[in-house]
Subunit: 276 residues, 2 copies
């Protein structure tokens, strides 16, 4: 294998499935010169209902595969894997830098609403680990954080029912207990703590109203990656960046659902299947 | 290991997760004298979005594990695994008898509505394989069969939102194109071709009306198992049957969601974790 200069290497992006494509899309918009190498571990999705032991194991295998393909930075574009496996991946992949989605989201929430009330919408696993709560309180001891598991929103995004009355009625049922609180207790920011949820942003705003700040962890993570690469002089300039998509199973489904996530048309031939 | 007489051995029941518990529950009600050994492959659920190659591999490992524990019959209580892997399992486990959920459902639908119009509600994988369509047309060449992937209903059942307006609005959105047809084209039977869907039976009836026959593959499979065991003199009498639950991951979640499926209270200690 020929040695490629660090700045010319791709950025690896890893997720349990197609959800991380919302992060890939935000990165592509912000950093069009970068080559992006995405791996969706579709054979073992969803991580959100798996045990920490399995998630550590799966994330380690996926990250090692991307590292073997020479990447300059790894983005863990999966909230569950970021919550469970980030420290473990940083240790095992060092000196490769690893950026997760939880910390950028927590920083954005705290900057928008210092000493504020935050509601994190996430999968069961992310909620049960309290990762956003810990990250936010670590940055702002006065912050109040609630976390809410919204498993159905994942299926809703994958079905493509991202707008309209069905989406809004599901979101309403999840948010009702919080939105019905007195104004002084109601959340001031909603953190989209699952990579699928940015697709539901419009429906969430329709239910929650415009007084609540929406923190989209796809966009905040893309911005964190851009800042990190500028600091380390890893950014690539004057290049027509590419996107390469890998999956561990189901290329046809990946193309269909992933195409909707990326707002582009994909065929199964655009997806390379890999064994981990 | 002491040799146990065939009739005194347990019936093995295998599913990708908790959905097959609807089949287990129907079997328990019909055959209270039998010992039931259930294995949910929760580490790798859902099978519904996986490729046939992975499903064959996973189902083979799960079935082999149950066979090693001395069972007299294997029930594949997962529509996707039945559609993909039944023949393969019958060959590799012979002479152990193997019963899936697709054929009993197809037989029940055809008996209720000969030369009828059937609509199968299932996961993407079951639909894409056309397993129910093939089984029904094999029994009744005049039958008309449509199959509809309803992935969101799986998440709905697992969230426990089985009744009320949100469940009905989701079911309405899926069924609208079929229910809106002229009476002479409208389906006469709805086949619940995913083991999660019997939990949504009331909501489905509320949307579809009482003119449409509901074929519940959990109940039809339990009846098929009872008939098979009587034929082969494998049934057990005068015994206080037991239920043993195995899972490959996430005992706490299995206990919480599975308890709701079985309408009983389970704790993580009731679930034995196994490695396949």
């Amino acid at each position: 294998m020929t040695k490629v200069l660090p700045a010319e290497q791709a950025i690896g992006v890893f997720d349990s499935g197609v959800g991380g494509l919302t992060v890939l899309k935000a990165m592509r918009e912000l950093m069009p010169a970068e080559d992006l190498l995405y791996l969706g571990d579709t054979a073992r999705l969803p991580y959100g209902t798996k045990s920490p032991r399995s998630i550590l194991n799966y994330a380690g295998q996926a990250a090692a595969h991307l590292q073997r393909r020479q990447i300059k930075l790894l983005v863990v574009a999966c909230n569950t894997a970021s919550a469970v496996a980030l420290e473990h991946l940083r240790e095992s992949l060092a000196p490769l830098p690893v950026i997760g989605v939880v910390e950028p989201g927590a920083i954005a929430a705290v900057s928008k609403n210092p000493a504020g009330r935050h509601l994190v919408l996430a999968t069961e696993a992310t909620v049960s680990l309290g990762a956003y709560g810990n990250a936010i309180r670590g940055l702002d001891a006065s912050a109040k954080v609630s976390e809410l598991a919204c498993e159905l929103l994942v299926a809703l995004a994958e079905e493509g029912w991202t707008h309209g009355s069905v989406a809004e009625s599901i979101i309403q049922k999840y948010l009702e207990p919080q939105l019905g609180l007195p104004a002084a207790e109601r959340p001031q920011s909603l953190i989209l703590g699952c990579t699928h949820f940015p697709l539901l942003r419009d429906a969430i705003v329709a239910v929650a109203g415009t007084d609540v700040a929406i923190v989209d962890s796809a966009r905040t993570t893309a911005a964190a990656v851009e800042g990190f690469m500028a600091d380390r002089q890893l950014a690539r300039a004057q290049h027509d960046g590419s996107v390469k998509l890998l999956a561990t199973d189901g290329a046809r489904r990946f193309a269909r659902v992933g195409g909707a996530f990326l707002e582009t048309s994909l065929s199964a031939n655009d997806i390379e299947l890999v064994d981990l």
